[in-house]
């Protein structure tokens, strides 16, 4: 218990003490500054996009891993956890190198006139990378346990394969997909290491909120950094709450009383 308080509670309280200590007016001024707002907006939109991409493709990957067979499947399955195991800085520089205009993928994109590195697109790519395992891993067990009889029942009742997927399978998977989505979103919102290299950190354009905090710290603007952090923290708590609720809902729907 003592350990817990030392390691967790103390730092947390420090943050809030500091934030409120600065006076609300100053906090509000900081938080509503255009640059800060732009950073929030960018962080939120990019994280949302990345999480959405992961929701769709994560579901697809989980489906393919559970239902289909192909050579090297166990290897691929293990590799899905890479973004979770790889240090963020390593992922960050690797992605930047790959998507820079002279990188493997960056070159191909440049040929079509798309620039990835140092643009919001690059940020979305990095955030998709780090959120990848979340949807896949929450959907996989649910898909595995999906009763074959449900699909057979739908078939005997005359449903086509597409109807079975959209009316029976997908609703059953929905809670898991949503949970994975929320987890990916939460992770993406706070992400620093993977993004800081590929974004280029241009204020108002490709500056994400965590970076802004870092910049303010380097300028010794503790009040400003804390204010921004406090807002992000509030958002994280809300998201964490939502995730816990979602997980509770998912368990309830899946229960066969």
């Amino acid at each position: 218990m003592l350990y817990l308080s030392l390691v967790v509670l103390l730092p947390l309280s420090a943050l809030f003490l500091r934030a409120t200590g600065s006076g609300w007016h100053q906090v509000w001024a900081t938080v509503t500054d255009p640059r800060v707002l732009a950073a929030y907006r960018l962080s939120f939109l990019a994280s949302l996009t990345g999480a959405l991409i992961n929701a769709v493709f994560g579901l697809l990957v989980a489906w393919v891993l559970v239902r289909y067979d192909f050579p090297g499947k166990p290897l691929v399955d293990g590799l899905v956890d890479l973004p979770f195991a790889l240090p963020t800085a390593v992922g960050g520089i690797a992605l930047t190198t790959a998507y820079a205009s002279n990188g493997w993928i960056g070159k191909a994109l440049a040929a079509v006139g798309i620039q990835a590195a140092f643009t919001p697109l690059g940020i979305v790519i990095a955030l998709t990378f780090i959120g990848l395992p979340f949807v896949v891993r929450t959907v996989q067990p649910v898909l595995q346990d999906l009763d074959a009889e449900l699909e057979e029942a739908a078939l005997t009742l005359g449903a086509s394969r597409a109807q079975t997927f959209f009316r029976v399978i997908l609703p059953t998977l929905a809670p898991a997909v949503l949970t994975g989505f929320a987890l990916a979103l939460a992770r993406a919102l706070g992400e620093y290491g993977s993004v800081v290299f590929i974004s280029g950190n241009m204020p108002m354009k490709t500056e994400i909120a965590p970076l802004l905090i870092m910049t303010k710290l380097e300028q010794f603007d503790y009040a400003g950094a804390t204010a921004i952090a406090a807002v992000m923290l509030a958002a994280s708590f809300l998201l964490l709450l939502a995730i816990n609720l979602l997980q509770g809902w998912a368990a309830g729907v899946g229960r066969r009383a």
């Binding site: 350990y3 817990l4 967790v8 509670l9 730092p11 947390l12 420090a14 943050l15 003490l17 493709f57 990957v61 489906w63 393919v64 239902r67 289909y68 192909f70 166990p74 691929v76 293990g78 590799l79 899905v80 890479l82 973004p83 195991a85 790889l86 240090p87 963020t88 800085a89 390593v90 520089i93 690797a94 992605l95 190198t97 790959a98 990188g103 993928i105 990848l132 395992p133 891993r137 699909e151 394969r161 919102l189 706070g190 620093y192 290491g193 290299f197 909120a209 965590p210 905090i213 870092m214 710290l217 503790y222 804390t226 952090a229 992000m232 923290l233 994280s236 708590f237 964490l240 816990n244």
Partner: protein, 279 residues
């Protein structure tokens, strides 16, 4: 009647899924290793053996050596308490354990600066006693402990909960003491989850970037961990060296992935003791 999709659709879905994975997983991995070895094996080894790189490796190892055992001890104690007992504030404890996961690493680092920095809560007191926490090694270690705090506990709690109390009760009924029960009954049951939690904790302790970045002060040769050193090299456009050092961490990541497979396989073999399901 085959209830599955048409073979063409299957093939299409598989290709798209694998393509997506190749793009997002294989490419970064390949980049790390090809860039690292670009200058040849000799350049690779030189980059790793360079003094500031070595001190970064040393600092990283030291940090892990402190963070992992303490989080291990706590994790085991906490999950044991949570799984086997009822007490007020249990849910609060669970939420608190999950906390470092939900907070951006930069904010985590910020909290430590606010606590122990020269303008922080304990700043004056620390200055008085000549202790430097932030922008020095202790700060890095503390921040790492905070960030890797949940890993062991999160692996163990569901495992221990799934196992229930029966075996422990049986041991106690047979006359074993509390500590004996813990050591001989509880721990062996969760050994694979424990191992995996330790592996994850270690990997994360060595790879943590955001939180450590805030706290470290980036003093080359002194307060740079491997990830920070990678950043330094990269920002100096010394790409080959940066990737060379980074490849060490990439290898560690691959070992982590292999460890997970091993753990799932072994715990599955040990007659359904509940394999870890977290990524």
């Amino acid at each position: 009647m085959d209830r599955n999709e048409l073979p063409l659709l299957r093939w299409l879905l598989t290709t798209v899924a694998l393509g997506f994975l190749a793009l997002f997983l294989l490419v970064p991995l390949a980049v790390v290793f090809t860039q690292a070895l670009r200058g040849g094996v000799l350049t690779y080894l030189t980059a790793i053996r360079e003094p500031s790189a070595l001190s970064a490796i040393g600092l990283t190892l030291l940090t892990a050596a402190v963070a992992v055992p303490s989080n291990l001890a706590f994790g085991v104690a906490a999950s044991w308490a949570i799984a086997k007992f009822e007490f007020p504030g249990k849910h609060l404890l669970l939420t608190l354990i999950d906390l470092p996961f939900a907070i951006s690493p930069v904010i985590s680092g910020l909290m430590f600066v606010l606590l122990f920095g020269s303008h922080g809560l304990f700043g004056p007191w620390l200055a008085q006693h000549g202790v430097q926490v932030v922008f020095a090694v202790p700060g890095i270690v503390l921040a790492t402990i905070f960030v890797t705090f949940p890993f062991v506990a999160r692996e163990l709690v569901p495992l221990m909960q799934a196992q229930g109390l029966e075996e422990e009760e049986a041991a106690l009924a047979l006359g074993a003491g509390g500590w004996q029960t813990f050591w001989h009954v509880t721990l062996p049951n969760v050994r694979w989850g424990l191992l995996y939690g330790v592996v994850l904790c270690t990997a994360r302790a060595m790879g943590e970037f955001g939180a450590v970045s805030v706290v470290s002060g980036h003093i080359r040769g002194l307060t740079n961990t491997i990830p920070l050193h990678v950043e330094v090299l990269y920002n100096e456009y010394n790409f080959t060296a940066a990737f060379a050092v980074a490849s060490l961490l990439a290898l560690l990541a691959l070992i982590t992935l292999a460890a997970k497979k091993l753990v799932i396989w072994r715990s599955g073999r040990d007659a359904g003791a509940g394999a870890p399901t977290r990524g």
